[in-house]
Amino acid sequence: MNRIYEVMFIVRPDATEEDVDKLIEGFSSVVTHAKGEVTAVEKMGRRRLAYTVRKQNDGLFVLLTVSAEGAVVTELERRLRVTEAVIKFITVRMDEELKRQAKKKALRDSRVKRSAQPTYAAEAPATPAAVAEPLAPITPADAAV
């Protein structure tokens, strides 16, 4: 029963690349030890913060996409809170959202396929042929009249 989470956290701007990598590794190991999976790591770089956080105006943003159970995320959040270099974090649960999007997409795709005639005719050659035949005798009759 793995849920998908997006964890975004901000590291102090005066941290080096290595420090950031070390932090990421530390958090990833927390997840993998608890039989979770870190599906993606994205370092979004230095950004200006919209308001001062712990007397800092900039921060290094990191995004982790994690697939794990709820308890794992609780542990991860606890670690994030304790780490001094991390000044802010947010965890968003994504699996319901992704399911909803996939559903919408599937619905949209199925609708498109039906309106596109050529693919429909290719799939069922019998039905268009059957429809075409009765139409053919009608048109010469109309022309005669």
């Binding site: 975004m8 901000i10 919209a50 308001y51 802010k88 947010i90």
Partner: protein
């Protein structure tokens, strides 16, 4: 509270004719105090149908929801550019009668903006 309602109703009704009690329950603008009798007064143009400032114009602008037309599924807290279009100068969330967003998308937008505010991508209150 009960005493306040009953005692003014009796003295104001007594000077006028007893039949007029149903017509105009009170001279002030607080008609519903007496209860069931609804005066035949049209409701004030409360905001108007389209939210126009005059209130009387009928559906001034048929704004369409940007997300519905462009078929944007996900409103994520991460795309700040998109969210900034729906946030006022001082950081407040713009009401949907001004932006024309539909209800479902406005709700998703609100959630995304609040998440973005929490992660310092958008301000809570700007330009003090």
């Amino acid at each position: 509270m009960a005493e306040e309602i009953n005692t003014p109703a009796a003295p104001t009704a007594a000077p006028t004719q007893p039949a007029a009690r149903t017509d105009r329950p009170a001279r002030t603008d607080r008609p519903e105090r007496s209860g069931g009798d609804r005066p035949p007064r049209s409701p004030r143009p409360a905001g108007g149908p389209g939210g126009g400032p005059g209130g009387r114009k009928f559906f001034r602008r048929k704004k369409v929801c940007k997300f519905c037309t462009e078929k944007i599924d996900a409103i994520s807290y991460r795309d700040v550019r998109l969210l900034q279009g729906f946030v006022a100068e001082r950081g407040k969330i713009v009401p949907r009668r001004l932006t024309g967003v539909c209800t479902t998308h406005q709700r998703q937008l609100t959630v995304a903006i609040k998440q973005a505010r929490n992660i310092a991508l958008l301000p809570f209150a700007a330009r003090f």
